[in-house]
């Protein structure tokens, strides 16, 4: 075997991953705290006097809902930062994409745990309550968002159009927030026949 002469071909450096010391420690810490929380929630704490075992869902549900809103909020902020010419940077775009995915995961968890809890305490899997319905719509919006992001294409182009799509979503949410009480009333008091 003879060695290849000439300058060595520069191959792309092997993917080094995105982790560093801090994120590795954070991940480890997260694993430990999740385990502790699971132990606390499932065996250490007693069942609730009125709700029984159902109360254990409350250890997950609000936390998941908060994470979902934080993720979607971050996505909106990062999207605005990307669209704003002065702060345009791919970092914002990547942050928006990542937080949308995380938010979507927690949104699904929120809906699932809420539905199980509702079945146990209200006797139904789903009620057409305004907040529930809007959360489901939000989930659908972000499924669309993530789907658009996964279609590939030039990242720069993709980012701009999707940021635009994203800001429409936010605008819709704002519209919704304004009429939310109206919608809520409509759902709560079905129109008199």
């Amino acid at each position: 075997m003879t060695a290849v002469s000439g300058p060595r071909l520069r191959t792309a450096p092997a993917a080094r991953g995105t982790g560093n010391g801090v994120t590795r420690w954070l991940g480890l810490l997260a694993l430990v705290t999740v385990a502790v929380t699971a132990w606390l929630g499932l065996s250490y704490t007693p069942p609730d006097a009125t709700q029984g075992q159902l109360v254990r869902l409350i250890y997950i549900h609000p936390a998941a809902a908060t994470s979902c809103y934080v993720g979607f909020g971050l996505c909106a902020l990062a999207s605005v930062a990307y669209l704003w010419p002065r702060t345009r940077s791919r970092r914002w775009d990547r942050l928006a994409a990542a937080s949308a995915e995380v938010g979507l995961l927690f949104c699904v968890i929120t809906l699932a745990t809420g539905s199980i809890w509702g079945r146990g305490s209200w006797g139904v899997w789903w009620t057409w309550d305004a907040r529930l319905t809007l959360t489901a719509l939000l989930c659908a919006l972000f499924i669309g968002y993530v789907a658009v992001r996964r279609t590939g294409g030039d990242p720069e182009v993709r980012a701009t159009t999707k940021r635009a799509a994203r800001s429409f979503g936010s605008a819709l949410r704002e519209t919704f927030r304004d009429v939310s009480s109206e919608v809520e009333r409509a759902f709560k008091e079905p129109a008199e026949k």
């Binding site: 659908a140 635009a164 429409f168 919608v183 409509a186 026949k193």
Partner: protein, 222 residues
């Protein structure tokens, strides 16, 4: 801007007029959807009359997807989109023209479906003014939102399946508001329809404004 809008809108409507796709495919599709609703409710007349406003708007929503898809399909062949980009027309004008053409087709479709609802479901008219005004406002919202998202999806490989996923959740307020307005207008429930009209008007105004502002970016980058 207005001149460009008239040019693009006129072009789209002429294409539809000559190809007859909207008339021969989208409109029959909408009527078939109405018929299927009748089967789904087991021809229960009382139930159908009561649910007519919601069913009507679901049928319009589903048809609007086809109309939007069609509106961008005519741009995708023979590199027509590049041509449109190179004409130097004002992007806001392109948006308004395309949205207006979609809205015009939807309005015709709504008239047809309206007859369908009256004939098939046996509804009665209570407040014609509210009926017409809310239909106009809802159509503007549907056409504007549809045109914006149609443009977002038009450059992508999987646009046929992606478009419904993008549009349907977004136009949920239109379905909600228009159904409430029509329930009041058809007298099937005593809701204050005019209050819901403001939601429709706000939705239409917001999406028209966003489309006008953002369409230059969307046209360039998809």
């Amino acid at each position: 801007m207005w001149r460009d809008a008239a040019l693009v809108g006129g072009k789209d409507l002429r294409v539809e007029w000559h190809s007859r796709v909207a008339a021969m495919q989208v409109a029959p599709y909408a009527v078939v959807v109405l018929l299927l609703f009748g089967f789904a409710f087991d021809q229960d007349h009382a139930l159908l009359t009561q649910a007519a406003p919601g069913l009507f708007w679901v049928a319009v929503l589903l048809s609007s997807l086809l109309a939007v898809q069609r509106s961008y399909a005519i741009e995708s062949s023979d590199g027509a989109r590049d041509g449109l980009r190179l004409t130097g027309l004002d992007p806001a004008g392109i948006f308004l023209g395309k949205a207006a053409a979609v809205a015009a087709q939807l309005l015709l479709l709504e008239v047809l479906l309206g007859f369908g609802v009256v004939v098939l479901f046996g509804t009665r008219l209570h407040d014609p003014a509210l009926l017409v005004v809310s239909a106009l406002a809802a159509t503007v919202g549907l056409a504007a939102a549809g045109t914006v998202y149609g443009m977002v999806a038009s450059g992508l490989r999987v646009r046929e399946t992606l478009l419904p996923m993008l549009i349907l959740p977004v136009v949920a307020p239109v379905l909600l508001g228009a159904t409430q307005c029509w329930m009041a207008a058809l007298g099937s429930a005593r809701t204050d329809g005019w209050k819901w009209l403001s939601l429709l008007a706000a939705f239409g105004a917001i999406y028209t404004a966003l489309g006008v502002v953002s369409f230059s970016t969307l046209v360039e980058e998809t």
